[in-house]
């Protein structure tokens, strides 16, 4: 089918990306930098130093009101009550069958006010879902995507770099607070998608350019979506659309820790059944010793499929995530992956594939 010609959206940093020599590609309806100087170099900058990502394509929803907590307890999988004011929590939006509609980060801005960060491609669907299933509560559900630019600063030196530009102490991991960074008022969140320490910054789109410039000036290397993918894959973080979708439940995906079925969220009963009976398939990390890189869609001999596959710049080998039978989902078990007609020998690994203890 010919690709439809659609108007791609641009983040407020579009000009800055061109200036920095970015290669721009269509991604989830946005024109985004896939790389600047090269995926490997950018990847290693985040692992060893500090990088800055424009993730302004991600969506934001604010749910506020008297029953904000009750509403979210119904909508998302994790136990919202465990999140204090100024806390952050990973959670899933599931359908009645336990299929995953999206994976999200929630930030509790106040007792009855939550910020939800959605995946770009899912944002409109998430909003419609939240309206359809959340409006029985006394809440206001607001689309805030146009109100925020979002920058992620990640790497072992990320915190120190941002701290040096901030007007107050940064929040610890899985917390958030309002600060001014490089003179720009924003929300600082101790979260990320790289397996490194760091923060995510949400600011007014009009302030994104001076903020970006200050971070780069202070030594953060611009990093594109290419390295964002290799970094998250080494850390074994799921990518919605690859490793998560409505056909897979959180238990099979290894996200049972983000599901508190006792709260009665949408899909809790179906997920509880899978948890009790045990999933037929499990998502596992794997690596390939030798040449060859498995890619999304490559079948596994005897059953199973690769949902994410790439080259690991840190481990210098092919790595990935695959759904395999529960019997094979044991670290050390060998997998044979059909990579474009060539059988590659892979091994089931433990999470994360790359960690600081290595």
């Amino acid at each position: 089918m010919p690709e439809q010609t659609i108007e791609l959206k641009r983040t407020p940093l579009y000009a800055a990306h061109l200036e920095a020599g970015a290669k721009l590609v269509p991604f989830a309806g946005w024109e985004m930098p896939i790389q600047y100087r090269g995926i490997r170099e950018e990847h290693l900058a985040v692992r060893n130093d500090v990088g800055v990502f424009d993730v302004s394509h991600m969506g934001q929803v604010v749910i506020s009101g008297q029953q904000a907590q009750e509403c979210l307890q119904h909508l998302v999988s994790n136990d919202v009550r465990r999140m204090p004011e100024g806390g952050a929590q990973y959670s899933l939006l599931c359908n009645e069958h336990g299929g995953v509609v999206d994976d999200l980060f929630l930030y509790r801005l106040a007792e009855r006010r939550f910020l939800i960060v959605t995946n770009a491609g899912n944002h409109p669907g998430d909003l419609a879902w939240m309206h359809a299933h959340g409006e029985q509560f006394d809440v206001e559900i607001s689309d805030c995507q146009a109100s925020f630019a979002m920058l992620a600063v990640q790497g072992p030196r990320a915190r120190a770099l941002v701290q040096g530009l901030a007007d107050g102490k940064l929040p610890p991991r899985l917390h958030c607070c309002e600060r001014s960074v490089a003179g720009v008022p924003l929300l600082v969140c101790g979260t990320g998608y790289t397996g490194e320490d760091g923060v995510e910054l949400l600011c007014d789109p009009d302030q994104a350019e001076p903020l970006w410039a200050a971070l780069v000036e202070a030594g953060a290397q611009p990093v594109g979506l290419g390295a964002r993918d290799t970094l998250r894959l080494e850390a074994c973080f799921h990518l919605y659309g690859n490793d998560l979708d409505e056909r897979h439940d959180p238990i099979s995906a290894g996200l049972g820790w983000a599901c508190a079925e006792q709260t009665g969220f949408i899909g809790a009963d179906a997920i509880s059944e899978v948890r009790v009976s045990g999933p037929e398939l499990k998502l596992v990390p794997f690596s390939i010793d030798g040449p060859g890189i498995a890619r999304q869609g490559n079948p596994i001999v005897g059953g199973g499929i690769v949902t994410s596959g790439s080259y690991s710049p840190s481990l210098e080998r092919g790595i990935g995530l695959a759904y395999v039978s529960a019997a094979c989902a044991v670290p050390g078990v060998g997998l044979q992956i059909d990579v474009r007609g060539t059988i590659r020998e892979a091994v089931v690994e433990t999470k994360p594939l790359y960690g600081k203890d290595q």
Binding site: I34, Q35, G38, I39, R40, G226, D229, T230, P291, G292, I293, R295, S310, Y311, P313, R340
Partner: protein, 128 residues
């Protein structure tokens, strides 16, 4: 990586391969555009010496961090040498696509096929 360049002494195939013709032999590689589109090459699995290549058919793969790409033979012939140094240093394909990053050397079975290839100017015109 250097800026884009397309040497005048090479012949070009529309699938972004180059051939350096020397009598009835030729060296093949991928163009600056091809390596730039792929990004950092991490694996190159060479064909075996003696393999028969057919013009316009795939004869090997070049794999980068983000994608795998078929490499098409610009001309027909028999492989008489492969660039073994690429197994340890595949990034030579990015750094020096027309020199250290050459892929194979071939004895041409039909040198008249060269007439179907483009010169640098014609190839560059296809890129815009």
């Amino acid at each position: 990586m250097a800026d884009s360049h397309y040497p005048d002494d090479l012949k070009y195939h529309s699938e972004h391969d180059w051939a350096r013709i020397e009598g009835d032999e030729a060296t093949f590689g991928i163009t600056w555009y091809a390596q730039d589109t792929l990004g950092e090459v991490v694996f190159f699995t060479p064909p075996t010496v003696g393999a028969a290549l057919t013009k316009d058919d795939q004869y090997t793969e070049v794999e980068s961090v983000k994608a795998v790409s078929d490499v098409v033979a610009p001309l027909s012939g028999e492989v008489i040498a492969v660039n073994d140094t690429l197994s340890d240093n595949p990034q030579a394909i990015n750094e020096d696509p027309y020199g250290e990053g050459w892929l194979v050397r071939v004895r041409l079975s039909d040198p008249s096929e060269v007439d179907s290839l483009m010169d640098a100017a014609a190839y560059v015109a296809t890129l815009s």
